[in-house]
């Protein structure tokens, strides 16, 4: 899915892991994203860099993160994979 979206979209892709009221703490895949000041890189997937906001930094420094893909027709996240009826999710605490 990440490779497919990379082929569909012309801009630079970024994954940011963030939380908030309505979509839970989850990965968000964006094109040409403006990273919040102080965002912290924690790795990459299919060449796409993965960031967390400053407040999450300590939480991801020394643990393994699993990003999975699930069927989801009704997500309101602006994450690019949602257009294909799927959603990136985290598989850990």
């Amino acid at each position: 899915m990440l490779r497919r979206i990379g082929a569909e979209r012309g801009g630079a892709l970024t994954i940011t892991i963030d939380g908030g009221c309505c979509e839970g703490t989850a990965p968000h895949l964006y094109e040409d994203y403006v990273l919040p000041y102080g965002s912290h890189s924690i790795g990459e997937a299919e060449g796409i860099p993965i960031y967390v906001p400053p407040s999450f930094k300590d939480d991801y420094d020394d643990r393994t993160v699993t990003i999975d893909l699930v069927d989801d027709m009704g997500s309101d996240a602006l994450s690019l994979e949602t257009e294909h009826g799927v959603r990136l999710v985290l598989r850990h605490r």
Binding site: G24, M73, T82
Partner: protein
């Protein structure tokens, strides 16, 4: 099974791609309605309908007295369908029928009435005479922006839609609403109610569909003049980025971690119930919930005991029963988020003194127990991050200055409260809290006459009242100069010798 299409240009229609989805009742995990799912083409169609109606002047050309009258008719239409709307809201969102009947429906109708008032109180044109550098008459004129998009969340679906529709209509705009995919029904019904009240075709359009496609389309479409979004800070950030491409006006109502400050001279019995109300009403799924309760350290243990005791009066159950005071969370995603954060709180060393799991005996539905964490330090993740569920952190403070410091130590600034039997003292503290709303000796009460919005990362702009109306207007200055020859335009001398 009830069926709902999209509401575009005054009509119900199927989505272009023919896709539908089933809306799930969070109390039973069973589908209760089938709803059309819009795609980008439907979004473009809705924008085109709104733009056509705006350009034709069918709504902005209507005198403001008539627009105000239509808003009042919409309120009446909501009243006439109150039972239907309250039931749909409960089934779609997991709200208790008590909440949807006593809060959602009346507040939604009231929003339209208050904006009718705000419109009538707003001067469309004001005139000022100026003498220098040459005599002029100056007209300050309010105009609508054009096509306004409202993207609204699932916690108060109908009310949040009205907070976008009412001011947009009052100001003479046309509007496209995208409700949350979890809870589209009442917003769709509102499209119909507006039409029945006399709103011309194309002026109010409601399309339900996923955020990633139609949300992105609406936030970046060049014919959209303004985007109003209520939801998470994460998505709000992205909406702002997308809207920047065409320099749209943006208002955002985002997350919160609102401080509920109990001063040492508060009536502790009342304040304890307020602390519960501020954080457990609608299962804690409210942006301005008082999720950090700040208590003076010498009163701390007593206060926590009072909160635990008061929670026994909360009745979880079937949302369609008026005796139920607390329902389920809106979805499995929300349930997982809350469960995850409860785990985080325990890992961080906070003490879970109430709840912290699914209620016993309630295996069906996304129910979560009212949960209280004691011994919370404001630096903990459960004190800094928005959980959006029935989880409250009780934080001890030393003195007033410490309480204010803790209250303001947050990236959010949406709501908050101060409890005290000394009103002047409470006001002194309220003035120091960096939030858009501060309640003194109350919680959750909002009035569509008064501004609501966030400091810091809780949002941009204000909704409701005259402030909310102005966010849906452009302002034009017409300088009427005198029709006199060049030799009387003395400022021409800047260029011509």
């Amino acid at each position: 099974m009830k069926e709902f299409g999209l509401f575009i240009n005054g009509q119900w229609e199927a989505a272009k791609g023919g896709k539908t989805t089933q809306s799930i009742n969070p109390a039973t995990e069973e589908p209760w309605a089938t709803v059309a799912v819009a795609d980008r083409e439907d979004a473009r169609k809705a924008v085109a309908a709104a733009k056509k109606a705006h350009d034709a002047g069918v709504w902005r050309g209507t005198p403001k007295e008539e627009r105000a009258e239509v808003l009042r008719k919409i309120a009446a239409g909501i009243g006439e369908r109150a039972e239907e709307l309250a039931a749909a809201e409960a089934l779609d969102s997991g709200a208790t029928i008590r909440k949807s009947t006593l809060a959602d429906v009346p507040s939604t109708a009231d929003t339209f009435l208050k904006f009718a008032d705000a419109l009538m109180a707003d001067e469309e044109e004001t005139v000022f005479e100026e003498a220098a550098p040459v005599p002029s008459r100056n007209i300050i004129r309010k105009e609508p922006i054009g096509v306004c998009v409202g993207i609204v969340p699932w916690n108060f679906p109908m009310l949040m839609a009205s907070w976008k529709i009412a001011p947009a209509l009052a100001a003479g705009n046309t509007v496209v609403i995208k409700p949350a995919s979890n809870t589209p029904v009442t917003a769709l019904l509102m499209g119909e109610i507006c039409s029945q009240a006399g709103v011309p075709d194309g002026v109010v359009n409601v399309i339900s569909g996923p955020g990633g496609s139609i949300g992105e389309e609406l936030a970046s479409h060049p014919d959209v003049g303004k985007v109003a979004f209520t939801g998470s800070t994460e998505v709000g950030r992205r909406i702002m980025q997308l809207a920047s491409g065409t320099v749209k006006k943006v208002t955002l109502e985002l997350g919160g971690k609102s401080p509920n400050i109990i001063l040492d001279d508060a009536d502790l019995d009342t304040a304890a119930l307020a602390a519960l109300f501020g954080t457990f009403f609608h299962q804690g799924q409210i942006c301005e919930s008082g999720t950090r309760v700040l208590v003076q350290k010498d009163q701390y243990d007593t206060f926590v005991e009072k909160m635990i005791a008061g929670s026994s009066k909360i009745q979880l159950g079937d949302t369609m029963d008026m005796m139920t005071s607390m329902g389920p969370l809106v979805s499995k995603t929300q349930y997982d988020t809350v469960e995850n954060y409860v785990g985080v709180g325990k890992d961080e060393g906070a003490e879970c003194v109430l709840g912290g799991s699914r209620p016993e005996g309630m295996e069906k539905g996304y129910y979560y127990s009212p949960t209280i964490f004691a011994g919370v330090d404001n630096k903990m993740r459960i004190a800094q991050e928005e959980i959006f569920g029935p989880v409250v952190s009780v934080i001890p403070y030393d003195d007033e200055a410490d309480a204010v410091g803790i209250a303001n130590d947050s990236m959010y600034g949406l709501g908050g409260a101060v409890w005290s039997q000394n009103e002047e003292r409470a006001l002194g503290v309220a003035r120091q809290i960096e939030t858009g709303t501060v309640w003194i000796n109350d919680y959750h009460l909002l009035n569509a006459r008064f501004p609501f919005g966030g400091y810091k990362q809780s949002g941009v702009g204000r909704e409701l009242g005259a402030w909310g109306l102005h966010e849906y207007q452009e302002v034009k200055h017409i300088h009427v100069g005198e029709n006199v020859p060049a030799d009387q335009k003395i400022y021409f001398g800047m260029l011509f010798n």
